[in-house]
């Protein structure tokens, strides 16, 4: 326990009214910061610091602040309560069953103070380095290394001509041309169908009655005209029509009288 017992030496505590420590809570960044400042006033290495003395300093500081009716923030009071507990635990005869032991709590506090102090000192050393703009200087307006992008536009002759085609199409007056389509008139179909029926006696499919030389669009027209012609002749009772069901081939023959579909 050599290291720790050394830590609890009762060094004469500096008063809380020490010049360095104004009784203002705005100067402190929380209880740990205040504790570190108080520890520094012991003017010993943090490893050698008396935690008990530090606790006394802190409690006295808070007590004085309250006497002076200063607003003491809650976290300072929480720390004060904890330190008061630590103090009594350190002073009372040790209870070996108590976990964690007050010595351990004191050690933890000491370790935290050491770490904060180390970082505070590191920050000071960092800020004291040769800093750009304060101690060392750069060129104020370096030209900079630049990559200048040179845009290269890409288009093919096809793109150009296709674009022009579009322009022409847009700008030319729109003329709708309805092409003359070859048709087979109803009269022609009737005439042809009558002729075919005269030759053929049995059932025949509608397509069989079409002129063989009608091809392409003309054939489509011939189907339509012949169909209408067939209906017309059926209406006149001159042909019989038969179809198994919708969309099945349509059959026709010369009327045999009263047996139409």
């Amino acid at each position: 326990m050599e290291g720790l017992s050394l830590a609890f030496n009762m060094a004469p505590p500096p008063t809380a009214r020490d010049d360095a420590l104004q009784l203002s809570f705005e100067s402190w960044e929380g209880p740990l910061d205040l504790l570190l400042a108080l520890a520094r006033s012991q003017k010993v290495d943090l490893k050698q610091i008396s935690i008990l003395a530090l606790v006394e300093q802190y409690l006295r500081f808070i007590a004085e602040a309250r006497e002076l009716k200063l607003e003491v923030a809650a976290d300072y009071l929480v720390m004060a309560a904890w330190l008061a507990y630590l103090k009594s635990a350190l002073l009372l005869p040790k209870d070996p069953l108590e976990e964690p032991s007050p010595d351990e709590l004191a050690l933890r506090l000491q370790l935290r103070l050491q770490r904060l102090a180390a970082m505070r000192e590191a920050a000071a050393r960092l800020l004291a380095r040769d800093r750009i703009g304060r101690d060392v200087f750069l060129r104020p307006q370096p030209e900079g290394l630049r990559d200048v992008k040179r845009r290269r536009w890409d288009a093919s002759l096809y793109d150009l001509l296709a674009a022009y085609g579009q322009v022409k199409l847009r700008s030319e007056p729109v003329v709708h041309m309805v092409s003359r389509r070859p048709v087979v008139t109803l009269d022609a179909a009737l005439h042809h169908l009558e002729r075919m029926l005269g030759v053929r006696l049995d059932w025949g499919e509608l397509a069989d009655f079409l002129p063989a030389d009608y091809r392409g669009p003309l054939r489509r027209s011939a189907i339509a005209s012949t169909f209408v012609a067939a209906l017309e002749l059926a209406r006149q009772g001159r042909v019989d029509l038969r179809q198994e069901r919708a969309f099945e081939p349509l059959y026709l023959r010369t009327a045999t009288g009263g047996q139409g579909a």
């Binding site: 060129r139 288009a155 150009l160 001509l161």
Partner: protein, 197 residues
């Protein structure tokens, strides 16, 4: 070992945001230096840097550091950035090519839509069109024509090589309307195709 005064003047010239003359430097040093003495030191510094990648040069009695001109290509690199010409720009370019010289208003009349200034800028940046004077009409609008670079890029010996309207039609480039018509008559086409096959 470079002496302290020389180091100080060198650092001043380096970190100054404008060229400095000998009098300014002498003033900042605060010593009992004459501009002539400063100038002598500046020349020592300039000589020390001669032939390196940093030069100390005099411009109208003031000195500053700069990089040598022969290294400019390393400091400012140019790189190609290929971009596809937009449809609108292609149309404008085609109109200029077929109708040159042509003003922006005329281009718009032919295209039937407004043409942004940026489109012409792109074509000028590509060096495919160039201003060709002004049309002597009210407002004296700028007129544009295509360039040799245009002919070169599109592999044309001259503008006369541009296909005429009939050629375009024969090539199917005036087809889109027919295609649209046929698409509407799709059923018919299918029947026809089937029968003709």
């Amino acid at each position: 070992m470079i002496d302290d005064l020389e180091r100080a003047i060198e650092a001043m010239l380096f970190s100054s945001d404008e060229p400095l003359d000998a009098r300014q430097i002498a003033g900042r040093l605060g010593d009992e230096m004459t501009p002539g003495q400063v100038k002598a030191i500046i020349e020592t510094i300039a000589a020390r840097h001669a032939g390196s990648g940093i030069e100390l040069v005099e411009r109208g009695g003031r000195w500053h550091f700069q990089t040598p001109a022969d290294l400019a290509h390393l400091l400012r690199r140019e790189r190609d950035d290929p971009r596809k010409l937009s449809r609108a720009a292609a149309e404008v370019l085609a109109i200029v090519a077929y109708h040159e010289p042509v003003s922006r208003a005329e281009i718009e009349a032919i295209r039937g839509v407004q043409t942004s200034k940026g489109t012409l800028d792109v074509l000028m940046e590509a060096e495919w069109i160039a201003p060709a004077g002004r049309r002597e009409v009210p407002g004296r609008p700028l007129i544009y024509k295509t360039t040799d670079a245009f002919l070169q890029h599109f592999g044309l010996a001259s503008r006369k090589d541009l296909p005429g309207i009939d050629d375009l039609r024969a090539a199917g480039l005036l087809d889109p309307v027919d295609l649209a018509f046929d698409a509407a008559m799709g059923e018919l086409d299918l029947v026809k195709d089937g029968e003709e096959a």
